[in-house]
């Protein structure tokens, strides 16, 4: 079965850039799912199984940190690796993300090489 990725970002522009960067990085997912915030992502994950999640942190409605918290509490999805893609490069917020199970982080702006380097070992 082909691999699936879920991209969570409130910016449609950024979701398109991440999608393009995945292709440029040679990471050809068969299915790319999108969600505009953490709650929309949980709704997607209620009906879909994905191999990896790329999530922004600073989002309206449900942010990336609360999404991680809710995901960790759900046995069906807690083991899906999540990589944070964010402008929030502060150690405190990234430490919090890591403590909630985030597998890695990529700072915006990013290059396809940085995506490949971070995701390559997780897939």
């Amino acid at each position: 079965m082909g691999k699936k990725v879920l991209i969570i970002d409130d910016s449609n522009t950024m979701r398109k850039i991440v999608t393009r960067s995945l292709r440029q990085a040679g990471l050809d997912f068969d299915t790319i799912l999108e969600a505009g915030d953490g709650q929309a992502a949980l709704d997607v994950l209620a009906g879909e199984t994905v191999d990896i999640i790329l999530s922004d942190i600073n989002m309206p409605n449900m942010d990336g940190i609360e999404f991680l918290r809710q995901k960790q509490a759900d046995a069906k999805i807690k083991d899906i690796p999540v990589v944070m893609i964010t402008t929030e490069a502060g150690a405190d917020i990234l430490d919090e993300a890591k403590s909630l199970g985030a597998a890695g982080s990529i700072k915006k702006p990013f290059t396809p090489d940085q995506i490949q380097e971070t995701l390559g070992s997780l897939l």
Binding site: D10, S11, N12, T13, M14, K16, I17, R20, N58, M59, P60, T86, T87, E88, A89, G90, D92, K107, K108, P109, F110, T111
Partner: protein
């Protein structure tokens, strides 16, 4: 902290990395205009030990050029895609400056970007603030990036 330099570095890096465009900084402006016409402005509020604001102001043709480059497709009118792209641009610049401020011991939380556009509008800066306003030139036109930090 040299705010002008911080703005220049952040903006140039984002344009090079995400847009494959060169953004050439000019001389920092000494006076701020709060009136804009036929432009798109994105503002990110920063809350912490004091208040701060990062804003980007682009004339409409520049905003269209930036969005077209972001999306790798021709964008011909200011629509939701343009507002979203310029908001995300401001978000990335604010995030980079936030990192610089963190290193100075100042921690801020970023707001979701707000975007304003139209024929004529005004944006007031924070009361009793200091900051920097940097002009940039790209192939598609000029634009301003400003950062205001409340004293």
């Amino acid at each position: 902290m040299d705010l002008s330099n911080s703005i220049s570095q952040a903006t140039q890096e984002i344009f090079q990395t995400m847009l494959m465009m060169e953004a050439s900084p000019g001389q920092a402006l000494t006076e701020r205009s709060n009136k804009f016409s036929n432009s798109v402005s994105a503002i990110v509020g920063m809350a912490g030990p004091s208040k701060a604001m990062l804003a980007i102001h682009l004339p409409e043709p520049t905003a269209l050029a930036v969005t077209s480059s972001f999306l790798m497709m021709e964008v011909e009118e200011v629509d939701e895609d343009v507002k979203d792209a310029i908001g995300e641009l401001a978000n990335m610049v604010a995030g980079s400056i936030k990192t610089d401020l963190n290193e100075q011991g100042m921690d801020f939380k970023l707001s979701i970007p707000s975007v304003i556009c139209g024929e004529e509008y005004e944006i007031d800066c924070l009361a009793d603030s200091e900051g920097a306003i940097m002009p940039f030139a790209i192939d598609g036109g000029d634009f301003l990036v400003e950062f205001q930090l409340q004293k």
